[in-house]
Subunit: 235 residues, 2 copies
């Protein structure tokens, strides 16, 4: 597959501009971040190239380097803005399990809107971005206030995050991946997929939402069982 051709659709006509410092500044980090989100939305992480970003902003690629150090710095900028959209309002107010559920569902929903950010979130070291650190601090404080032992907390949070990443990956999957093409040759697979479909219909949920909930509750129950925290203590 050849690389996608540059398309002028939706891109403003290139502004011919004389070299040298412009009278009014054209770029700033906010404009770059907005354009990067737009670019990643239409073309994916692979399509977020410095040249494409520059085209979208009607500047030359090298102009970007006056505001960001590298392409990786652009990715960090996006990650920072993503972390700020997660719902941590439950911690300190609701019981831990409810606060975690609120956080996890918002995390899933935000990532489902932008699944292309998963590789980004996973790849960029969070510790270097201030807002992201703050977000994790809130979650960890929630666990700690609910009485979970120190050595359990990072593991519990990390496992939840792992599960969320997997659920996002699954979001792009069709609903009936397991249904056999030939039911007669795989009767048990046919029967269990039908039974699950019946449960889904009965509850009136979207299959992947029901699955997410089942896994989330199983994880919280299982980890509570392991570490002996109540999971119902106020965070």
């Amino acid at each position: 597959m050849p690389p996608p051709r540059a398309s002028a659709l939706g891109v403003p006509p290139p502004v011919r501009r004389a070299p040298g410092r412009p009278r009014e500044q054209i770029l700033n980090r906010d404009l770059i971040a907005d354009a990067a989100f737009a670019q990643i939305r239409t073309s994916g992480l692979r399509g977020l190239t410095m040249r494409a970003l520059a085209r979208r902003l009607a500047v030359t690629p090298s102009a970007l380097y006056n505001h960001v150090a590298s392409r990786d710095a652009v990715l960090a900028l996006l990650q920072e803005r993503f972390a700020a959209t997660l719902d941590t309002t439950g911690f300190g107010i609701l019981p831990l399990r409810d606060a975690l559920s609120k956080w996890a569902w918002s995390y899933l929903e935000r990532l489902r809107e932008r699944p292309e950010l998963v590789p980004l979130i996973v790849a960029v070291p969070l510790a270097h971005t201030p807002y992201t650190t703050l977000m994790y601090q809130r979650v960890v404080t929630g666990f700690s206030a609910a009485g979970w032992p120190d050595e359990s907390i990072i593991a519990a949070m990390s496992v939840l995050e792992t599960y969320i990443f997997g659920a996002v990956a699954d979001s792009e999957s069709p609903d009936d991946v397991y249904r056999p093409k030939d039911p007669e040759r795989s009767p048990l697979l046919a029967r269990t997929t039908a039974a699950f479909a019946a449960t889904v219909a009965e509850r009136g949920r979207r299959p992947r939402d029901l699955l997410f909930e089942i896994g989330l509750e199983a994880l919280l129950t299982g980890m509570h069982h392991r570490w002996g925290s109540s999971g119902r203590t106020r965070a």
Copy 2:
């Protein structure tokens, strides 16, 4: 970050060969697949370029196109070989929980070796590939023989798979993503990351392996709790 420089380390010296059809055929799809696996192992998916692949095979890049249609076709070739490598030998022999653990660990390990296959595995309907249907049938039969109710089995298997996909995504993440850059400003985050690191050291495990085990056990415990299966019955 500039792109990695081409390195001649481990690459055989280029064979000067006259143009035109060689007397003996040099390439075939098996050789290409083997070289692609080797390349991906040493340099990651990003490092699996057609040029690098060609260098490894001591041919020019364009020679590859006599045997594969595109770079994507190379990835599909790798995916074909994946399905047959998962360990389902525990089902019907070991207790369900052990059989599942064996399957899940092999799944994780195979995908960690080739994480670029995750999007393909998720997107491509499994029912169309012969090995994969057989593989899922074995897993489902294991649950059923252990007494799990029909409506629980697809959900349980799906949630496990979701968690595995997430764990694979995390495999590319650095180990210390949560450690704050400034411990004084995030004392609880500093304390809990240290406590987790201590647990890891004490058990002598790799951090992500310990995390995977914790989540896997939590999921199985939690789902067992929900559906009341023993999880210890022979599969």
